[in-house]
């Protein structure tokens, strides 16, 4: 990175930290620290929930996901708009009416302490781990690009954001997210413009899309049906997106404290609802745009040689292993294919622009791309055979490698700052919510019930700090997880379904008591983990299975177990 890039990066990050500290002044009690005294307008709620959901993983992995797998990942968000309306009708008024700090407090009113504690524990477990991954995601950029030690990078990355999160609580989180989102959108827009700008002369935006489309990367809508019928193992298709995605988004926004904690800060129920409903409308187009950048990068690399493997650190490790010669041969072959690809893609564009038959060049282009993909797979195989430690998938490196290799000075720093800010937005909200759950659902419930407001405030800050340290430690172990965006979503899907099931029973099945729902939740959670472990079912389905499983089993248990035993 050039000096200019370092200056842009340092100025952007310092400004955010300073702004977060400036906005840290709030009343020194739980209401001020966790709920900003319920004073936020709808646009801050909207930006805050968007900033919480769109982590660095979103901006790192999504373009890479589009590069390798096409745009079908956008279907994952199809359940979101409907989930937002249902959420506004059911969850939001209830949480506002009861004036809760955490979503799980409601479950004690409705069922019992153990059900509240179970759901709170499941949240803390999955959110604590996924926050660690969210720290690791931007840390790999620095370590890969600058050759920094990944462990020290994790500490540096997590440490800076803890400063304003611990200091200012929910208010600092919301205000910095607003600022962060503006910089992120500007940065991504500039990146998209630059990809098109860097295409060869005469090749424009539409031409780039044509190239990506012909090579199957613009597969936005997929049915999940193959010649053997519906493929349940297919992760992203319209049905898993609408049904599985609906359950996942409903549980994420309705039962995950990192989101509930954002819209509970609204000054009224209407402000919460507007923020959530608008989020439902803008999220799919936003995600589509981010994925589109990935397909443009893919088109760019048809005209320019792409690295054999985007994680150069991994390539260097393999070249020093016993498989160094195999790698050299592979690279020679790959360079030959890349030269051939460049000729064929130019011929294809010329044929297409002059309305000539493109079938031959198109078939050649597809064939060359298949061969280069095979070589990439071979590289992964030899890096595994060589026993080289590190990430064997390069999805997360694709976009940033392009940025570092091709964007002009200054913009590289800005784009790296964008990744940092995106990470900080979601991590800060997560730390705040982890602390609120620990304080309200665990500490004040089981450890020290009656404390002064000042002590509660101080305890909350300490828990925010402790969760920050825990997340950094988790980040140290987050290697070998493949696509990080998938890792975070898979982790959520293991727990969200069950938590949502408990809430659905609470809302809609008034005759079911605490014991029945608690036993159901424990049994179904074990089943979900076994199902994920032992089968290859698409992870989005786990949300629907978990939620419906808890509802059905709770109904059965309530019916078969004598009322005396299940009554609370």
């Amino acid at each position: 990175m050039s000096t200019l890039d370092w200056i842009v990066l340092a100025v952007t990050l310092s400004t955010i930290i300073a702004y977060g500290l400036y906005k840290s002044r709030t009343s020194k009690n739980l209401d001020g620290y966790f709920l900003s005294n319920r004073s936020m307008p709808w646009y801050l709620i909207l930006l805050s929930i968007m900033g919480t959901q769109a982590s660095a993983v979103t901006f790192l992995s999504a373009p890479g996901q589009a590069y390798t797998d096409g745009m079908r990942f956008v279907q994952y968000y199809f359940g979101l708009p409907i989930a937002m309306v249902l959420l506004c009708v059911t969850f939001v008024p209830l949480f506002h009416r009861l004036k809760v700090y955490t979503a799980y407090e409601y479950l004690e009113n409705r069922f019992d302490v153990k059900t509240r504690t179970l759901t709170s524990f499941l949240f803390l477990l999955q959110r604590g781990v996924s926050t660690g991954i969210s720290i690791y995601a931007p840390a790999i950029i620095l370590s890969s690009l600058l050759g920094w030690n990944i462990y020290w990078t994790n500490i540096f990355m997590g440490g800076l954001l803890i400063i304003y999160t611990v200091s200012g609580g929910a208010k600092a989180v919301a205000y910095t997210q607003q600022f962060q989102m503006v910089i992120i959108f500007a940065g991504m827009f500039i990146a998209a413009y630059m990809v098109v700008h860097l295409l060869p002369p005469g090749i424009g935006f539409i031409d780039a899309l044509k190239v990506s489309g012909k090579l199957g990367k613009l597969n936005v809508i997929t049915s999940g049906v193959n010649n053997k019928g519906f493929n349940w193992d297919d992760k992203y298709n319209i049905w898993s997106g609408i049904i599985g995605g609906f359950f996942l988004q409903l549980s994420y926004f309705g039962t995950d404290q990192s989101q509930v904690g954002r819209y509970l800060t609204a000054k009224s129920i209407t402000e919460s609802r507007i923020g959530l409903l608008l989020n439902g409308l803008v999220k799919v187009p936003m995600q589509f745009s981010i994925l589109l950048i990935g397909t443009l990068v893919f088109a760019f690399y048809q005209f320019n040689q792409a690295p054999l493997f985007f994680n150069q650190v991994q390539v260097n490790k393999v070249s020093k292993s016993a498989y160094g010669d195999s790698l050299k041969n592979m690279q020679v072959k790959y360079e030959g294919l890349s030269r051939q690809k460049k000729l064929v893609v130019n011929k294809w564009v010329n044929d297409y622009k002059s309305n000539q038959d493109t079938r031959t060049s198109e078939a050649q282009l597809v064939s060359i791309n298949k061969e280069t993909e095979k070589l990439r797979d071979n590289f992964v195989s030899i890096s595994k055979k060589a026993g080289v430690a590190g990430d064997t998938k390069d999805t997360n490196y694709i976009f940033l490698r392009f940025v570092v290799d091709y964007l002009p000075k200054g913009l590289v720093g800005l784009l790296i700052a964008v990744i940092f800010l995106a990470a900080w937005g979601s991590i800060a909200a997560a730390l705040n919510s982890l602390a609120s759950c620990t304080v309200v659902d665990i500490h004040k419930k089981f450890i020290k019930k009656d404390c002064t407001e000042r002590v509660d405030y101080s305890t909350s800050r300490w828990y925010s700090f402790a969760w920050g340290i825990f997340s950094i430690i988790v980040a140290m172990f987050a290697t070998n997880m493949g696509s990080l965006i998938e890792a975070v979503n898979i982790l959520g899907s293991l727990f969200y379904g069950v938590i949502l099931g408990v809430f659905l029973v609470a809302f809609y099945l008034k005759h079911i008591k605490g014991n029945a729902v608690f036993i159901s939740a424990v049994i179904i959670e074990v089943c979900i983990i076994m199902l994920f472990w032992k089968s290859s079912i698409g992870f989005l389905w786990l949300n629907a299975i978990g939620a419906l499983g808890v509802v059905v089993l709770a109904l059965i248990l309530q019916a078969v177990v004598p009322a005396r035993k299940t009554a609370v």
Binding site: V74, F78, P81, I82, M84, V85, C88, V89, P93, H96, R97, L209, K210, S212, G213, K214, G216, L218, N219, V220, I221, I238, I242, S268, I269, T270, R273, I274, L277, G280, L281, V284, P285, F288
Partner: protein, 41 residues
């Protein structure tokens, strides 16, 4: 009064209208995406 505020949706007249609106929005998006895929394939 508070109950009324809880039941009243923002911006549109009823929650039923909101459901219809988001489903229609989703259908339009899916059609546009399908056309986008087909056009560039």
């Amino acid at each position: 009064m508070k109950k009324m505020q809880e039941e009243k949706p923002p911006l549109l007249g009823s929650w039923k209208t909101w459901y219809v609106m988001v489903i229609a929005f989703l259908v339009v998006l899916i059609i546009l995406f399908k056309m986008f895929t087909n056009y560039f394939a």
